[in-house]
Symmetry: C2
Subunit: 344 residues, 2 copies
């Protein structure tokens, strides 16, 4: 079910599209690896191997990157507070992935067996809980409760978004406003809090913290819309997952809304039936229609609009150190969307 962003996977060895903009983060990411590796000791000996299995290093780590970039000072600056915050958002994200994979009965993630396949669903539920609990424990090591408060609230909102999505699966009366709300909660929230924490913990003033916060939220919405488009237009061998799963699993996303709007009235019923799961999904037909009817263009515009809103949040602060780096993440996302367009 819930297709968290990182179900779009770069197979090991192939650089992900964000590798360029994130390459300047090598020292920070190395520090994050060291920090996460050191956390194993904090877990009870009996579950360390399982935790280690989950804390792999092959993810894109977009959320940690946003923490580092939004608190950017200079290439050599590796702030322990930012490393800790990056570990916290990554652990929360990993916990949601472990739980998502249980619910999706997913076999593989990042080309390895999922935790649920490796350890069974019972242990996987508890392992996700333990990862999340440890993230909050790390948050409690800051001098004030601000990080605990921000991370726990974000997590609750992510869960709420996923619950709504789950309950509305297969519902053909989902409204665009509900879709917007779901992706705002399930995806944009953790992007937002990553940018908030990076700015706050690097000592930025309230104005810039607020701007970074808004940037993160819009970037997260843009990212999820991109991910929903990639579900139809990605190349399977590139993104490492089966295409068309949203349609097959009854998840009404923006590309499907846009297609529904553009289909002749007499053709809408069959698409509704595919979403509702009462007839087999025909992803190839739907992709063809999406191209013919301008759905790709419309969704690309929606991503561009959100990236523009993200950019606008930083417009007053062009001279701050993080600003150009954050803007470049938006650029990469736009180029990713463009690269989904079939050639010829």
């Amino acid at each position: 079910m819930i297709m968290a962003p990182s179900t779009v996977i770069s197979p090991p060895g192939k650089p992900n599209a964000f590798a360029g903009v994130f390459s300047l983060l090598a020292p920070q990411m190395a520090a994050l690896d060291t920090f996460l590796g050191g956390q194993l000791e904090a877990f009870e000996p009996e579950i360390r191997a399982m935790v280690n299995y989950c804390i792999d290093t092959s993810g894109k780590r977009i959320r940690p990157a946003l923490v580092f970039l939004s608190g950017w000072k200079d290439p050599k600056h590796v702030s322990p507070d930012l490393v800790r915050a990056a570990a916290i958002v990554e652990l929360v994200h990993l916990a949601t992935l472990v739980h998502d994979d249980i619910m999706d009965s997913a076999d593989l993630r990042r080309s390895r067996r999922t935790a649920v396949r490796e350890f069974g669903p019972t242990a996987a539920v508890l392992l996700g809980d333990a990862l999340f609990a440890h993230a909050l424990h790390l948050a409690a090591h800051f001098p004030t409760t601000e990080v605990c408060a921000a991370v726990s609230e974000s997590t609750r909102r992510v869960c709420a978004g996923e619950i709504v999505q789950t309950l509305r699966r297969g519902a053909t009366d989902l409204t665009p406003a509900e879709y917007q709300r779901i992706i705002d909660l399930k995806t944009a929230e953790l992007f937002r809090v990553s940018c908030f924490l990076g700015a706050r913990l690097s000592g930025a003033d309230d104005g810039y913290v607020g701007a970074s916060n808004r940037f993160g939220r819009h970037l997260g919405i843009a990212y999820q819309i991109y991910d929903d488009l990639a579900d139809f237009f990605g190349r399977e061998e590139k993104i490492g997952k089966t295409l068309g799963t949203d349609l097959a699993s009854g998840k009404l996303t923006l590309p499907l809304f846009a297609l529904m709007d553009r289909l002749p009235v007499y053709e809408r019923a069959s698409l509704s039936e595919e979403i509702a799961g009462v007839r087999p999904a025909r992803p190839a037909l739907r992709v063809k229609q999406m191209l013919e009817l301008g759905v790709f263009d419309a969704v690309e515009v929606a991503v561009q609009d959100e990236v523009s809103a993200a950019r606008a949040a930083l417009a007053e602060w062009p001279g701050r150190a993080p600003t150009p780096h954050l803007l470049s993440v938006g650029d990469v996302l736009l180029s990713q969307v463009a690269s989904l367009r079939p050639v010829g």
Copy 2:
């Protein structure tokens, strides 16, 4: 699987055995009800009804009671800090119950449909996550990070204990030391942190906080051993669950260890096979043997030993306001164990 303590349920309307000692907590429990009810507003509107379903008021609330009792000043004193802490430990407990019921595929809890039956497993996993996240969010409202740190660490330990129990289910080579470790983590931990928080937040000195902490841990171990004995000797209509489930589900508990020790060598293999699930469990036979071979007595002694250790923790502080109330909880537990003994 994981039989958390409160799977021992008093049906609605019937007072639970702890009602006497907890009756003096009426003002505090009423404040807790009000507080928990007020928390619904904090959840996203879409999930409030589901959260409300989980935050019912029919549980025994032993953990909140321990918070209030370990921070006891006088009958009229209702401390907002203790109410908040009581809500936190109860929400963490409720979250673990929601997740336990998924893994056990349990249909009923407290004579109502479980969250997993009511909302489905996917929503139930996420709902448990949201309850836990909100508990930590409440913890972040204290002036310092101490409560966040204590609660998040406890939660991780509870999960670790449940993971170990899950992985070792059906294992006939589980050692008594492993059993001790499992119940220390999965049950005693939350009892301990409840007593720690009550004492700390009521302003007790470090010596008494430490004593309360140790009391809670030993009481929790005693409680779990009682619960494991009740799984064989409880009256079904009284405790509201099927008896002998630990044996049937391959969970090696102290009564089974004690029985194994006392069975003639040539009879041990068949019990091992029942634990391993390769032959049908025979709980009635095992209960009969437990009585004949002195297992009930031995397990009762084990509970008494832990209650004694709990009492010893408070021995230096007889004059402190919480002390007599905490000791009386131990007394009630001992009388509960005694009441399990079959008459005649």
